[in-house]
């Protein structure tokens, strides 16, 4: 224990120690089958090259590619680079060398050899597989070793193949190569063959990675998947090819072919259900049964917990092996996750991983995720742990295309069955008693009469006999058709109002033209039908509306000159049914840039324009999409360039610096609340080249459920494509209007606060003028009582909303988690992604209201407190010199460090950038939080040298400048920006191939990715497209070169380096360690 080496080989399976190489080995083996299968799968799944570029290089192209309701296809849950680690690490020959069968065999041994880490937490623990060290040493395994992901990945790998094959069709583009490489294998493919091998693979892997519990969950599905993969193919293939959206259902609903409910489901995911039979049977793999018990049956603290321990010598960092320290590793394989198994909640896979959910009672972790997957019985226990209890709710999250669509349940006039006391909705955890005549609410414990027509007898197991046929009794997430009593008015139409800045700056920088062109292309993608209404207005120091409903004539421009007291010039005809004004609108959009080309009005009355547009939309509500280019300087809510003022008296105002991150005054907030009240959601597209006071402006989108898109500095050359794609996703993604959300919890827990982009009028509800698949709300919870030992604690999120097609629905997601009174369980079931997301979001909330240093300290303290608690109460005795991390949270220090160096918490940096960051984070879905602070970096220069396999995206490189070669080209992306860094000595021929330039001097300032006729360029394009798909974001591409400011930007993302704004990773670990030690003392 005392020695660094000890822990590794000994008690704890540290992933990062050299031994972990074994993991690689495992992975490799495990991957093997995948690789084969993928082939089949790949083949079977026709990956139609056509839609290869959902994210076209040039905006138009994009549009062109996907005519109709592509949205689904465009950003579907990306299939994640399958078995990424394997590929990178493994030489191609591996594949060949490995026959499909062997892996299973080989694995078991490892398993056996390894003392099954008892309560070992899922992945990470499983993975460590210290026993198998011998294997391939080449890769230090630093990346592949990633705790959570890798282990699961193994099994999932197998599965991955399945999903991947499924996936491709949907997002074929990226997959093209793979598709092409195995063209022969069409359709049917030797599915059967595929199936079998997998289970084995799974098995083998599972054992190896002791987290047996996990395995099952993952293991089972994969098989299913793989088997399923054959079938799904058709639907998939159909989808991309035809592009035909099932009528009525949202664009996202893929081919419904095989699906029972898909028709109802708004965003019907595709396929999974296609072969339910096949799928379900496999799961009952040996594993599942045994595992669950293990998981929760953890012996008390005495037991060794999965830890990551590290010898840290205070005296010097030199002793630390950089390769030992915990790092994130991306696992490319797809995990299949059953939400409940054996009537136990199944801890979800990491949010950042690629997984397919099978809803077996609990809702998918995409919709609800808890920071800890076991609920502490008492508040004391929770506070001792240093962790927080929060939920991250993303009610309309995009599901994986292979997942079963959400069931839609219609209770008719009477509406869904609800508890008469707490108004909770019927869910699988409601207990029916008394022959089914009554039921006990799992949230408040009240006993209700079962409505007569809902009555059903109970089976011998105490369940209702119809439980399996009724989605609301067997699924964690269902949608109810809302009855009349849920409507205060008729469901609102889908209203899209575009508001464009045409002031001098906007016109001259091309922002106006870009906005018009983007809108013009996007209007074709608006939901079709009579309920879609559009309106448009432009503004400078006055507001210009357009009457689009004029039979024969041109649109009429109506100018509202009074920007202090605004009004809408017409009640009707400003917002018109889309079908009635399509031509006028297009013509107008063509004309607007010309009309204002020589506009000399520099003032921009944003606040007034928003207000005026609001007045026009007041009767219906809807989405207001605002394109703004300068600091609003006129009319209601005009702002001053206070950043400059702040800078000039910096010394005096240092302490007040954060005030600049607060809204300048209450005007916009008041307005925003009014907007929200009338169900108007505002999205701001800032195409600026200067300070625009985002801190003040962001109040509007934040309060109305919208978001900010920030293009700074706006470039008329490279940004329009992103603008277009952002806008397109904005209007086409799954979304709902006039929504109200409430989270209910079991007795003993209550909601303390909601945070995110919404309007809060009463404490219990969240008002969302609009909600879409990308919006996440953080719900912090608190104990108001002690929970019952042995019970489960349920959380139910109910979202009442109107679909774009005008249906009123209630989406109810229920998550029931076990309760525990053991600290070790809390640590074991901690969810890193969720916890870190919460930490980040909280930091974002605090930044405007507290001095930066305080916020930074706070973030570090959270990390320290958790680790300290673990160290003090859970870790077995170890030397003082050792830093011991809970396995589940071992990445916490790195992420916290990255957070400190993020745009939001970095002490330097522009005010606006920070405001944008705060705004972005506040509604950010869990899976995107970690990439935001800890971006993914990959090498591009050696793409050609790597074997072509399933994974499109190469293995990520740690964010440390050690890994940057002077002749390399690297791509770094965080879900928003994408930087391509060119080393000084890049080979000219590579430059030529990728960028079409011959030397570094020719690098353009404004970069547009183009595809040239060579494999390298093609690969790069595929990679970028794949990333875009994964992130549901088009990404701002920028070229960076050493010595340029752009190069500085790039290096500022290398968070493991020591930089002005903070420690290097190693230093930070030491810092934390010291803090813990001092606390211990």
């Amino acid at each position: 224990m005392a020695t660094p080496g000890g822990p590794r080989s000994g008690n704890f399976p540290p992933n990062y120690n050299p031994n972990s190489l074994a993991n690689n080995m495992q992975n490799l083996q495990i991957n093997q089958p995948n690789q084969q299968q993928p082939n089949n799968a790949g083949g079977s799944a026709p990956r139609p090259p056509p839609n290869a570029t959902p994210f076209g290089q040039q905006a138009p192209a994009f549009a062109g590619n996907r005519p109709g309701p592509p949205p689904p296809g465009v950003f579907p849950r990306a299939p994640v680079p399958p078995n990424a680690p394997a590929q990178t690490t493994l030489p191609p020959n591996m594949v060949s060398s490995r026959p499909a069968g062997p892996p299973p065999g080989s694995q078991p041994p490892t398993f056996s050899s390894r003392p099954p880490p008892p309560g070992a937490m899922p992945s990470s623990i499983g993975r460590p597989v210290s026993p198998t060290p011998p294997a391939s040493g080449p890769r230090p395994g630093s990346y592949p070793s990633s705790p959570l992901t890798s282990a699961p990945s193994t099994p999932s790998h197998a599965s991955a193949s399945g999903p991947v094959s499924n996936g491709p069709p949907t997002f074929a583009p990226g997959m093209t190569q793979s598709g092409s490489s195995f063209p022969p294998a069409m359709g049917g493919m030797p599915r059967p063959l595929v199936g079998p091998p997998q289970p084995q693979a799974m098995l083998s892997s599972r054992p190896s990675s002791q987290p047996l519990q996990m395995r099952p969950s993952f293991g089972g599905p994969p098989t299913a998947l793989s088997s399923a993969s054959g079938q799904p193919t058709p639907p998939f293939s159909g989808l991309p090819r035809n592009m035909v959206p099932p009528m009525g259902s949202s664009p996202f609903s893929a081919p419904n072919t095989g699906m029972h409910q898909s028709i109802n489901s708004p965003y019907g995911m595709q396929t999974w259900p296609a072969q339910p039979q096949q799928v379900t049977p496999p799961p009952p793999i040996p594993g599942p049964m045994q595992q669950p018990p293990r998981m929760f049956g953890m012996p008390p603290g005495g037991q060794s917990l999965p830890n990551q321990s590290m010898a840290l010598n205070q005296t010097g960092q030199s002793k630390i092996d950089p390769n030992q320290i915990p790092r994130l590793s991306q696992s490319g394989s797809v995990i299949v996750h059953e939400t409940r198994q054996g009537n136990q909640a199944n801890p979800p896979p990491p949010a950042t991983s690629d997984y397919i959910v099978k809803d077996t009672g609990n809702c998918s972790p995409r919709y609800l995720r808890c920071t800890i997957n076991q609920v502490p019985l008492t508040v004391d226990l929770l506070s001792t742990s240093g962790m927080q209890l929060s939920l991250l709710v993303q009610p309309l999250a995009l599901a994986h295309p292979s997942e079963e669509p959400i069931h839609v349940v219609d209770f008719g006039e009477s509406g869904p069955v609800r508890c008469s006391r707490c108004k909770g909705y019927i869910n699988p955890f409601v207990k029916f008693i008394d022959q089914g005549r009554r039921f006990i609410c799992n949230l408040c414990g009240f006993t209700d009469e079962t409505p007569r027509d809902y009555h059903c007898n109970l089976g011998p197991d105490g369940r209702r006999r119809d439980a399996d046929e009724r989605p609301e009794l067997c699924r964690g997430t269902v949608e109810f058709i809302a009855s009349k009593e849920y409507m205060v008015r008729d469901p609102m139409p889908a209203v899209f109002f575009f508001l464009i800045d045409v002031s001098m700056n906007a016109a001259q920088t091309g922002a106006t033209a870009a906005a018009c062109s983007a809108i013009k292309q996007v209007i074709a993608d608006l939901p079709k039908g009579p309920r879609t209404m559009v309106g448009i207005a432009t503004f400078d120091s006055t507001i210009h509306f357009y009457n689009l409903k004029r039979a024969s004539q041109q649109p009429l421009m109506l100018i509202v000159p009074d920007v202090q007291d605004v009004y809408t010039p017409l009640e009707s005809d400003v917002i018109v049914q889309f079908s009635e004004c399509c031509e006028h609108l297009e013509m107008l959009l063509d004309n607007i840039p010309t009309m204002f080309e020589s506009n000399r009005i520099a003032d921009s009355a944003l606040g007034a324009a928003v207000k005026a547009a609001f007045l026009a939309m007041k009767s219906t509500g809807g989405k207001l999409l605002v394109f703004q280019s300068v600091l609003p300087s006129a009319g209601i809510g005009s702002l001053s360039a206070r950043e400059a003022e702040g800078r000039s008296n910096m010394s005096a105002g240092e302490k007040e610096a954060h005030k600049l991150l607060q809204p300048a005054d209450k005007t916009l907030k008041t307005m925003a609340i009014e907007l929200a009240e009338y169900q108007v959601c505002v999205d701001l597209f800032i195409t600026s080249q200067m300070y625009v006071d985002i801190a003040s402006l962001s109040v509007i989108p934040t309060t109305t459920g919208g978001q900010i898109y920030y293009y700074y500095p706006f470039s008329a050359r490279s940004d329009p494509a992103k603008l277009y794609n952002d806008l397109r996703w904005n209007v086409t993604r799954p979304q709902g209007f006039e929504a109200v959300m409430r989270v209910r919890c079991s007795q003993g827990i209550e909601v303390q606060e909601y945070s995110g982009n919404f309007c809060k009028r009463i404490p219990t509800d969240v008002d969302l003028p609009a909600i879409d698949c990308d919006k996440t709300i953080m719900v912090s919870l608190k104990h108001d009582d002690k929970l019952q030992e042995g019970s489960e604690c349920a959380f139910q999120c109910a979202l009442l909303y109107t679909t774009v097609y005008g249906q009123r629905r209630i989406r109810v997601s229920t998550l029931s988690l076990p309760c525990t009174n053991m600290l070790s369980n809390l640590f074991r079931s901690a969810d890193l992604d969720t916890q870190f997301a919460c930490i980040t979001k909280q930091a974002a909330i605090e930044i405007p209201s507290a001095p930066l240093a305080q916020v930074r300290d706070q973030a570090t303290n959270v990390c320290i407190n958790i680790l300290y608690s673990y160290r003090k109460f859970c870790a077995t005795v170890s030397s003082a010199g050792q830093l011991i991390l809970p396995e589940a949270l071992k990445m916490l220090p790195l992420y916290t460090l990255a957070l400190l160096k993020s745009t939001g918490l970095r002490p330097d940096g522009r005010i606006d950038d920070r405001s944008v960051w705060i705004n972005y984070v506040s509604a950010l879905p869990t899976p995107l939080v970690i990439p935001l602070v800890y971006p993914r970096m990959i090498a591009l220069h050696d793409l050609n040298e790597k074997e072509v396999d399933d994974s499109i995206i190469p293995v990520p490189i740690p964010l440390s400048s050690e890994h940057i070669a002077i002749d390399g080209i690297y791509l770094l992306e965080n879900g928003v920006d994408c930087l391509i860094y060119l080393g000084d000595n890049v080979q000219p021929n590579i430059l030529q191939q990728i960028f079409g330039i011959s030397s570094l001097e020719d690098i353009p300032n404004q970069f547009i990715l183009q595809q040239y006729e060579n494999p390298l360029s093609k690969k790069l394009n595929d990679i970028v497209n794949e990333i875009r798909r994964q992130r549901c974001s088009y990404l701002r591409l920028r070229l960076c070169k050493k010595g340029d400011p752009s190069g500085m930007t790039f290096f500022s993302y290398l968070v493991e380096d020591k930089m002005a704004s903070g420690f290097s990773y190693v230093e930070y670990l030491i810092h934390i360690h010291r803090q813990i030690q001092s606390k211990m003392a």
Partner: protein, 771 residues
């Protein structure tokens, strides 16, 4: 009578007293004030030359040289003596050659009224569009589609008639005010202003982007191209007719009814006040000081914003005379105050407000009156935009030729008079310029307390009623002074002629005054009954509007009795002995009809109508005004030509056609037999050509009347016993009523009224006069 008409022909002036009571006391005894009804732009006799130079002015009183000036040809430096202040003035070198045989036109005795045209500097100015005429149409869109259609076609027609160099602008309004930007080529563009809000000129300048191309001047008043605005920013809104015809046509054709929904229990939201306010600001910003007219086409009452006359709720009725009397019209005073402010602004800018009120309901003419009258605007009241009263009147304004209105703009009217005469004020379409001086009387009526007035708009018919005071006190030496018993008056009118030139018309009058006992006959000899009636009418109208608790009947009767007592021949207390000089004989009749006229009897009219009638009365000349007071009645029969008939119910006969001209309405009344024959179609038969001619005769006369009149009168063609016959009956002297002793002659008619007949009236008058 004819001598007065001759005088009018020469000097465009009628005075009740052409021989003036020379002292204050005498004047007070006359009951009717010394007054003049002057028509500044009345067409002059053809021979009158237009003098192409500036007039000579007196050094001290600034009056213009005139035929009454005494010229001393003898002295070396020729000298003229001002008739008003007796100042001796030298002639300028140019006049050195004058002699008794050779003197300029302005000294010719027959040219007491003459015009000067100031040439050079103005003509350059004219090249600028700013100084040509500007028409800003302000169009109400809160009307039903049908009305809007009529209005559109009327406007489209007018567009074709507007002279090419005139500037045109367009504002439409309903719930909001739409200022159309005609100079924006790409798509139709309007600036929309809230109807509930009064915008200031500065706000308008800012909000309509007048300073985007050129920075706003930091100091001074912004006024047009000369002061602060760029030509192009003005040209966005006001364009030469030739340039914007196409755009305007398309806008008008596309013009929609105000789109804001109107609940069934409410009136449309109509913001007339805000629209006019904006129009005034727009003109004030773009073309201050040059002739511009705001032509407002109103289709209903203003219900929103400043100048609203009624609330939107239909449960609140429009104000009636009764409400106004009881002061229970909640919006009235506010609205009037608003329009007063508007009128001040317009007068300041020199712009005119014309009102075309076309609705069955009232639109607020009563409130708007002040603004129209002070700016010398035109007003037309009709039932519908489709009615000929509106359509033809509108066309009149733009027509060229003999019957054009002779519209002129930017007039300034000044009076000089002998020092014993003071000016009380003017009742008529003008606004005081507040130029106080020794000539101002302490008693003020109408636009007083000044010797100069602004006439933003004036035309051939515009007639001002100027009321004077005699200041001279009775004194012993007064009679002896008879050597100089002339009063002089000089009326100077500067104006912009419709051709763009600035002109000055000078009228100089001389009237003899008398004083001392025994002047009665002399005064009677100079008494102009018609002028007197008109002065009384204007006075009584004015007093009814301005004096609370004013009893017009009592006031008129008192005045009449006073006159009769003063000037009648009678033995005291013997009514039958009463007699009046022919000079005075029909004056009581005028008064009788005036008492019954719409100016005094407001009972059956809405405040809008009353305001309308009075506005016309206040701007028309004497002969037209007399027709308003006592309509003319012409009778047509088979055996005689058209002859004037007694305005009495006895004139009605079955076999006659009567033509009643009450100015606002022309009634062609077919006797019962005539009507039957006509219905039988006899006039279409060749053998009854005479009948056809008989039918035609009144129509031809009607057409002639209509052609000359603005606003075009309403034509009513009716038959005896028909419902429309009431238009005739109401004007007739009810000598035969349902309870009178005399039976109607066969074929005649009776009137169902309790009004007293003229006989009863004059009986009473005689009785009272002799007491």
């Amino acid at each position: 009578m004819t001598e007065f008409l001759d005088l009018e022909l020469q000097d465009s002036v009628r005075m009740p007293w052409n021989v003036l009571p020379g002292t204050k006391a005498h004047a007070a005894n006359c009951a009717i004030p010394i007054a003049a009804i002057y028509t500044p732009l009345k067409t002059l006799p053809e021979a009158t030359p237009l003098l192409p130079y500036s007039p000579l002015r007196c050094r001290s009183c600034r009056s213009v040289i005139n035929p009454f000036s005494i010229v001393d040809f003898s002295s070396v430096n020729k000298i003229w003596i001002c008739s008003f202040c007796l100042q001796r003035n030298h002639f300028p070198p140019l006049y050195q050659s004058i002699s008794e045989q050779n003197f300029p036109a302005e000294l010719f005795p027959q040219y007491t009224t003459i015009e000067y045209e100031t040439p050079a500097p103005q003509s350059q100015d004219k090249a600028q569009p700013g100084s040509s005429n500007v028409f800003l149409f302000v169009v109400d869109t809160c009307v039903i589609e049908e009305e809007l259609g009529y209005l559109k076609s009327a406007l489209l027609q007018v567009l074709g008639m507007v002279p090419e160099n005139c500037l045109i602008g367009l504002i439409t309004f309903g719930t909001y005010v739409h200022v159309h930007e005609l100079g924006f080529g790409l798509i139709p563009k309007v600036h929309v202003f809230k109807g509930t809000k009064e915008v200031t000129k500065d706000q308008l300048l800012d909000q309509m982007g007048f300073f985007t191309k050129r920075p706003r001047p930091t100091t001074g008043v912004i006024a047009g191209v000369r002061d602060g605005l760029s030509q192009e920013s003005v040209a966005r809104f006001l364009l030469p007719a030739s340039d914007c015809e196409f755009v305007l046509n398309s806008i008008l054709e596309e013009l929609q009814k105000d789109p804001w929904p109107v609940p069934s229990d409410q009136r449309a939201a109509r913001c007339t006040g805000a629209a006019l306010n904006l129009a005034a600001h727009l003109l004030g910003a773009c073309v201050p000081g040059s002739g511009a007219r705001i032509m407002a086409f109103l289709g209903g009452p203003s219900t929103e914003g400043p100048g609203a006359i009624v609330s939107k709720s239909l449960s609140e009725p429009l104000r009636s005379h009764k409400d106004l009397d009881k002061d229970s019209a909640p919006h009235y005073h506010k609205a009037v105050k608003f329009y007063e402010a508007l009128s001040k602004q317009l007068v300041h800018q020199g712009h005119v407000l014309d009102i075309f009120a076309c609705a069955l309901d009232q639109v607020g003419v009563a409130e708007l009156k002040v603004a129209v009258e002070k700016t010398g605007g035109l007003v037309v009241l009709a039932e519908s935009f489709g009615h000929s009263v509106f359509k033809d009147s509108l066309r009149c304004i733009f027509q060229a030729g003999d019957h054009d209105l002779g519209l002129a703009s930017n007039g300034i009217f000044e009076i000089n008079c002998s020092k014993d005469i003071k000016i009380q004020g003017i009742i008529g379409p003008c606004a005081s310029l507040d130029k106080k001086g020794p000539l101002c009387s302490e008693t003020v009526i109408g636009q007083g307390n000044t010797t100069a007035w602004k006439l933003c708009g004036l035309d051939k018919n515009t007639s001002l009623c100027i009321i004077f005071d005699v200041a001279k006190k009775e004194s012993p030496d007064i009679v002896s002074q008879s050597a100089n018993n002339q009063f002089y008056f000089q009326f100077l009118t500067y104006y912009q002629h419709s051709n763009g030139q600035m002109r000055l018309r000078a009228t100089t009058l001389s009237r003899r005054w008398v004083a001392g006992p025994g002047i009665k006959d002399e005064l009677i000899s100079g008494f102009d009954q018609e002028a007197a009636a008109v002065v009384m009418a204007r006075q009584v109208s004015f007093k009814m509007e301005t004096e609370a608790e004013f009893d017009p009947i009592r006031w008129l009767d008192k005045s009449l009795i006073h006159i009769c007592t003063q000037f009648g021949e009678y033995q005291k207390d013997n009514p039958s002995s009463f007699g009046l000089s022919p000079r005075l004989s029909i004056f009581p009749q005028f008064m009788f009809h005036l008492r019954r006229s719409q100016f005094v009897q407001v009972f059956n009219n809405s405040p809008d109508e009353t305001a309308y009638f009075r506005m016309i009365l206040n701007r028309e000349n004497v002969s037209n005004s007399v027709v308003m007071i006592q309509p003319s009645l012409i009778s047509y029969a088979f055996n005689s030509g058209p002859e004037a008939a007694l305005l009495d119910v006895v004139s009605i006969a079955a076999d006659k056609i009567l033509l009643l001209d009450s100015y606002f309405t022309i009634v062609v009344f077919h006797g019962a037999s005539i009507a039957q024959w006509r219905k039988a179609g006899y006039h279409e038969l060749p053998e009854h050509q005479a009948f056809s001619q008989l039918l035609q005769a009144p129509r031809s006369d009607t057409d002639a009347i209509i052609r000359e009149r603005f606003p075009v009168p309403r034509l009513v063609i009716c038959d005896q016993h028909g419902s429309q016959a009431r238009f005739l009956l109401v004007k007739l002297n009810p000598s035969a009523t349902y309870n009178s002793d005399t039976q109607a002659a066969p074929g005649g008619d009776i009137i169902f009224t309790d009004d007293v007949s003229f006989e009863v009236f004059s009986d009473h008058l005689q009785r009272l006069a002799v007491q």
